[in-house]
């Protein structure tokens, strides 16, 4: 029979349409409005999975986000999503779900025998049993993991689309139950911008379960009218299927919207699967409701044992009777509503109440309905393993700690239990709110919020469980929140009257006596179903000294599952309090952390995946480089040509050829990525004098100068050439990677230390495309394309002239990073490609050679030019880098000067930059290799330095290297050892850092 437990009428499901789905390969049917959980229940499917540690049969426990038990793998292939709570999955046609932690089959699970040996797997078993011998830990872990069953994330790329979105509002209301709806309505009436987020597909919250009346009509009619009123408010946004998952400082909240999860795959069109909202709210109303607490008794994890409120939800919202024979087991009045509803649907119902004499209106109504009530009694055993078949009930001793009288067996297929309600304070606590323990509720409730995160808990979240209180607090919170954002309602909504019955207090017994005494009984009393934590585990933790709440959590794994212990934490704390002989508030609670429910990595990444993961910054000449087959190097975000291989060439071949070509004819390199800063103002030279170590006052207009920047510690952090363009006008260049850092550096000093300096710094990095011609024939080549007089008498080395190149307005700088005669042609970036093409066309007659960053690095190393960040590492002064000449002896001050003359920075024997020439000229030392005075293969050695740059230089005709070596300057001529990872030890002789054209004549020619 299809859906044997589906009621003939009632609930929010559309019986007119039938949806087909499969669970573990079997096909079932359900209806729109069902969750996977309600549809399975309607079909009488009780056994939904196995627990991860003991492989105990598990079924449906709740009807909401708190579900610790009914975890399934949803979907298949690349879309498979493990550990999905069946209670949160909206049913769609074609849905595929599988059970977890069971092998070979759910009904017969080999590992379930582990349950019989559970004494080997107590709390902390990871730490105790398998840590010795240590070398086998990896093996143990793998076996344990595999035994846990085939719960695996898919290995394929996620085919779904996830988006993100920022949102701003005056008032964010979390939860669309009676309190949240009332808050949103009240705030909305003020004209405030309101977002109302709720994790369910339709609003109503508890009213979807409890058919209480509001304002003289049905509660759901009030919900419908309120939702309609909100829809008419242009500044109100209602987000169904949206769980607020994280509450971060300054009222920044994350919310996960399941946009198309309720549709079959690919049925959502271009809408994303999920959307992560990043919400800035001036005020927040937390109407997050409450979660029912389980009772802790023997075998309380059997399929068929569920929360009483959930059982009622399945009847009233989903039109499913959880079972035709029901025992309701409670410590409070509220669960009697479940009993009454089940009885009205024809179920045979009995109630077991811990309280000796329940007398509230609901118990009285149950009595009138003829429902047997076993007062002052407890369930002490559950019959049936894969499905409940009955319970054993015995009277409680007066103190509630022991059993009295004979056992009665009550047949049933469902045990609906209620240990009271725990306010859902997760978000309040994430927002730094302080909690206080309410002895009446037996739970922590909001006590004091943190003004950093203005919010108001309302309704059940605030510990106010009655419907009238929910509406009243919601209205007050909504109006007050709007008021605090400057919005007042001319016509605030009236507070509707609500049906609310008074309730007698619960009897809080945190563990119930078991028939088996001591540990044997406690091992069957489950506290945390997801973590398979029993009362015995909590007591063991206490005995072994893990008595603080934080230790309890980590030692037993209570609350560490994906449900974060929504149903288990309070019970675990209470049992620990009992074990320690202290109160629950003395034990305290663990920290609530985002996210409230698991969030898929896809949603966290959003669209920043694949090609959109990170920008690859191209220069204006990029497409030419691509067309010429350049191999690119990532430099920061930039794509720079690394080398230009010709057909058949290796990288080594290409670089050697490029290096030769530059020094024999002419090469061209794209230097556009260098940082560029326009500096103007009467105090510009003063600024340069402060940020560079050398003197700038006497630099002539049209002249260039190299400078080194130090940080406050006297260490090199950037370098570059700055040119004086006019009286008070300079053009600074920085390293490619340092561009943003130097700009911030200048602004920081100007804004914080020297606000009186009249200087403006403006980034112009990408305004200019730069083609740098290097080589003895560069002048000859350029001469044919420019109106600038290139006569070295009037346009010498380290000078700049403006004119046109290839008809393009250009600034030409005679500066050189290769030691060759060089002209760096700067044109507006829009002309970059045209310039490059013109230079290449013209250069054909000179065998012009385009080269990349690798050749650039070799050529500069031949000249001993440092690269800040490669040869220096934040611990290198100019003196250490053999650049004493760059430090002015005359200037009164510059950044880093004081540090530069500290005893330690002046100390002899510091790490110093030297050249290294290997005894075997063919050996290219690896960069980063350690340098020793004398090392032998296979022997330990004391490192005295390391190689910073190392290349095969075709122009020197051998390998060359730069190294930072302790007391390097005094080691000239010494032979040092460089052991490498392949076990060899190379010998190298210390020398100067300039390997080519030491007189520097070539650049000046």
């Amino acid at each position: 029979m299809a859906q044997p437990l589906r009621l003939a009428a009632g609930g929010r499901v559309d019986r007119g349409r039938t949806l087909r789905f499969t669970f573990d390969g079997r096909t079932y049917t359900g209806h729109p409005g069902d969750t996977l959980a309600s549809a399975l229940l309607a079909n009488g499917v009780r056994l939904l999975g196995r627990s991860y540690k003991y492989h105990r049969p598990r079924g449906l426990y709740s009807a909401g986000a708190e579900e610790p038990s009914a975890l399934v793998t949803l979907g298949a292939g690349a879309r498979a999503e493990p550990n999905t709570r069946a209670t949160q999955v909206e049913l769609f046609d074609g849905l595929v779900a599988r059970s977890q932690n069971a092998w070979p089959a759910l009904g017969f699970d080999v590992s379930a025998v582990i349950g019989a040996f559970s004494r080997f797997l107590p709390a902390g078993f990871y730490y105790k049993t398998f840590m010795w011998p240590k070398s086998l830990w990896m093996t143990y872990e793998k076996v344990i993991r595999d035994a846990a069953g085939p719960v695996h994330g898919p290995r394929q790329a996620d085919p779904d689309r996830y988006e993100q979105r920022y949102a701003h509002c005056d008032v964010l209301v979390v939860g669309a139950g009676p309190a949240g709806l009332m808050a949103a309505l009240a705030a909305g009436r003020t004209g405030a911008r309101v977002i109302l987020a709720d994790d369910q597909p339709e609003a109503g919250g508890g009213l979807l379960t409890d058919p209480a009346g509001i304002g003289g009509g049905a509660g759901l009619d009030w919900v419908r009218a309120t939702v309609a009123a909100l829809a008419d408010m242009p500044e109100v946004t209602v987000l169904p299927r949206t769980t607020v998952v994280g509450y971060h400082d300054y009222n920044y909240l994350g919310a996960l919207e399941r946009v198309t999860d309720h549709l079959p795959p690919d049925a959502g069109g271009n809408a994303p699967r999920q959307r992560l909202w990043k919400i800035r709210a001036k005020q927040v109303v937390l109407a997050t409701g409450a979660i029912e607490r389980p009772l802790v008794f023997a075998d309380n994890d059997r399929p068929g044992v569920m929360l009483a409120g959930a059982a009622r939800t399945y009847m009233n919202r989903f039109g499913v009777l959880p079972g035709r024979e029901m025992v309701v087991f409670t410590n409070n009045d509220g669960a009697y509503a479940t009993a009454l509803d089940a009885a009205s649907h024809g179920a045979r119902v009995q109630v077991v109440d811990l309280r000796p004499d329940p007398r509230g209106p609901l118990p009285e109504a149950a009595r009138e309905a003829g429902i047997p009530i076993h007062a002052g009694a407890t369930v002490c055993g559950v019959a049936g393993s894969k499905a409940v078949t009955g319970v054993r009930v015995r009277a409680l001793s007066d103190d509630g700690k022991g059993l009295a009288g004979p056992a009665k067996s009550l047949p049933c297929s469902v045990l609906a239990m209620s240990g009271g309600w725990t306010p859902t304070v997760h978000l309040f606590s994430q927002a730094r709110g302080k909690l206080a323990f309410s002895a009446d509720l037996g739970a922590f409730v909001p006590a004091a919020g943190d003004p950093l995160n203005p919010n108001r808990p309302a309704g059940a979240c605030n510990g106010s469980l009655g419907l009238d209180a929910c509406l009243r607090e919601g209205r007050e919170a909504g109006l007050a929140a709007a008021h605090d954002t400057g919005h007042v309602a001319d016509h605030p909504p009236d507070l509707p009257l609500a049906d609310s019955l008074p309730q007698e207090p619960p009897r809080l017994l945190w563990t119930l006596p078991a028939e088996k005494a001591g540990t044997a009984g406690e091992k069957t009393q489950f506290v945390d179903l997801m973590g398979d934590v029993t009362v015995a585990d909590v007591r063991l933790a206490e005995r072994e000294g893990y008595a603080s709440v934080e230790h309890l959590k980590r030692y037993t794994a209570t609350g560490m599952g994906t449900d974060q212990g929504k149903t288990s934490n309070i019970n675990a704390m209470a049992i620990m309090a009992d074990a320690r002989g202290v109160t629950i508030p003395e034990v305290g609670h663990t920290t609530f952390r985002p996210n409230y429910v698991p969030v898929a990595f896809g949603a966290v990444a959003g669209r920043s995946v694949g090609d959109l993961f990170q920008q690859a910054r191209p220069t204006a000449m990029h497409e030419w480089h691509v067309a010429q087959g350049a191999v690119f190097e990532d430099v920061g975000d930039w794509k720079r040509p690394w080398y230009f291989p010709r057909p058949g060439e290796t990288m080594h071949d290409a670089v050697q050829r490029e290096c030769k070509a530059v020094r024999t004819s002419v090469g061209i390199v794209d230097a556009s990525t260098l940082g560029k800063i326009d500096i103007q103002g009467p105090d510009a030279a003063d600024l340069l004098n402060m940020v560079y170590t050398n003197a700038w006052s006497k630099l002539g207009i049209g002249r260039c100068r190299y400078g080194v920047m130090l940080n406050e510690h006297g260490m090199i952090f950037d370098d570059g050439v700055t040119t004086r363009l006019g009286e008070h006008h300079y053009h600074m260049t920085t390293t490619t990677g340092g561009a943003a850092r130097v700009m911030s550096w200048l602004e920081e000093w100007l804004q914080t230390e020297w606000p009186d300096m009249r200087v403006f710094c403006t980034s112009v990095t990408e305004q200019w495309a730069v083609a740098a011609l290097n080589g003895p024939r560069s002048r000859e080549l350029l001469a044919g394309l420019t109106d600038i007089d290139l006569d070295p008498e009037t346009f010498p080395f380290m000078a700049m002239k403006e004119g046109t190149v290839a008809g393009i307005p250009a600034r030409v700088y005679r500066i050189s990073f290769t030691g060759e005669m060089a002209y760096e042609v700067n044109v507006p970036a829009g002309y970059g490609l045209a310039l490059w093409q013109a230079l290449m066309d013209r250069g054909a007659a000179f065998d012009i050679c385009p080269y990349g960053t690798e050749t650039m690095h070799v050529l500069r190393a031949e000249k001993g030019f440092i690269i800040a960040g490669q040869d220096t590492d934040g611990t290198v002064t100019p003196h250490d880098a053999a650049m004493d000449w760059i430090v002015s002896k005359k200037k009164a001050d510059f950044i880093g000067r004081r540090s530069l003359f500290r005893a330690d920075t002046m100390r002899p024997g510091r790490m110093q930059l030297v050249g290294l020439l290997t005894e075997d000229p063919a050996v290219v030392l690896p960069e980063g290799a350690q340098v020793a005075e004398r090392a032998q293969a296979g022997q330990a050695f004391a490192a005295i330095g390391h190689v910073t740059s190392s290349y095969m230089s075709p122009n020197v005709g051998r390998s060359i290297a730069l190294a930072m070596v302790a007391d390097g300057f005094n080691r000239t001529g010494q032979t040092l050892s460089v052991p490498t990872l392949d076990g060899r030890v190379h010998r190298a002789v210390v020398g100067g850092t300039v390997f080519f054209d030491p007189e520097g004549e070539r650049a000046r020619g």
């Binding site: 271009n270 920008q615 403006f760 008809g807």
Partner: protein, 198 residues
Amino acid sequence: MAEQQAPITAPIRRGPLDGRAPVTADGVSLTLPAFAGKLVLRGGSDDGAFTAAAAKVLGAGLPLAPNTAARGPRGLALWLGPTEWMVHVDADTCDALAAELTAAFAGLHAAVVDVSDYYAVMRLGGPRARDVLAKGCPLDLHPDRFDVDHCAQTRFVASAILLHQVDVGPTYDIQVRWSFADFLWTYLADAMREFTSR
């Protein structure tokens, strides 16, 4: 051969997005406005001589209220900071305007910097433009907070942008560095996909 002067044809000036076909979706489109000259003006908001000189040349005062733009006969001025403005002008008149401003600022602590090629501008317009921007821009773009001729230096995901609301459409001009233009265009086009019916 080498001695001969190569024939010089008029060099081609390009932008990073040249040739991009507009991207359209339901209620939003991404297009490429005509290339504009761009000048950064530097000077003090509280320097009367500077603001007067700028107003005289531009034919309209610089916007002094933070994050606002002002349109004048010579172009559009966008507030970037208390000492910094971005001026968008017709590309053909950019050099002349820069020269005039530089001349007018003689003797003042002020600066004119041509950044025409540094940045590209793309235009996102339509009733859904706000929804597209919200996918990557953390600013509150509600019309009560950000309206016509408001501007802001902000970001779209990882790209630093200068955002300017052009009209109530709303239409936004989004200025971004040359090297980020392709990435931003691609990201925006992707963000619009949700609003295509295909």
